[in-house]
């Protein structure tokens, strides 16, 4: 994932879990069944896990463009300044 994708995944995860929790509570109370609440919530957790945890392509819409290795060699890293006694910097 890229950075935007990570943020999106975290937000989706939190919102989905909260929504499923509220749905499960209301359904359980109205139906008078504790078991229904647990089933709905467990299903919600599984669905959220399937959507937010694996590295889906839609989380990678803003990919970072790392520099190509061949290109990197042409632009050497800056060297720390050395004393006058030592030889000059390597190219």
């Amino acid at each position: 994932m890229d950075w935007q994708g990570q943020k999106l995944a975290e937000q989706i995860m939190q919102i989905m879990l909260l929504v499923f929790a509220v749905i499960a509570l209301v359904a359980g109370y109205v139906l008078g069944s504790f078991q229904m609440m647990m089933i709905i919530y467990a299903g919600g957790v599984t669905l959220t896990a399937l959507i937010t945890v694996p590295n889906w392509p839609f989380f990678n819409c803003h990919p970072l463009n790392w520099l190509d290795p061949n290109e990197a060699e042409k632009h050497p890293k800056p060297q720390v300044a050395v004393s006058s006694k030592k030889k000059g910097t390597k190219k």
Binding site: M1, Q6, K7, A9, E10, M13, Q14, L17, L18, A21, A24, L25, G28, Y29, L31, G32, S33, F34, M37, Y41, V45, T48, A49, T52, V53, P54, N55
Partner: protein, 167 residues
Amino acid sequence: MHSFGYRLNGLLTFSVTILAIMCAIASLSDNLNTPSPSAEIQVMNINWFQKQPQGNDEVSLTMNISADLQTLFTWNTKQLFIFVAAEYETPKNSLNQVSLWDAIIPAKEHAKFWIHTSNKYRFVDQGNNLRGKEFNLTLHWHVMPKTGKMFADKIVLTGYSFPEEYR
């Protein structure tokens, strides 16, 4: 969110925390319930009423217990524990409570019942104070939840008394 394991761990811990909050809310919802239970106990017969060798009175009685406790059940109730206790006063103790019978009611359908039974547990006094004594029979119940707070209450039925003489 930086790796599969990181996201999975975050999801699992958040979901369990939310589950704990849901259970707390479920327990709080029990307070919305206004129960209206009713019960009646008839002492059909005093089977025997003796003084034990140690000097304590013992009595065996047969009761007809009928009750409607269906309104105590909520969606968050696992079972109902009920027991019948005899309460009376003696010179030695200001309150004596002797448990005579108990039962577990696992579901709402079984909460409206009647039962004809002798006392499940022996009724022995501390001393020999029971002749002619008036006593109350109380039906206590404990509403045991699936999650959260347990409620307990009782109905007091008065007007019972022992015979004047042993038999």
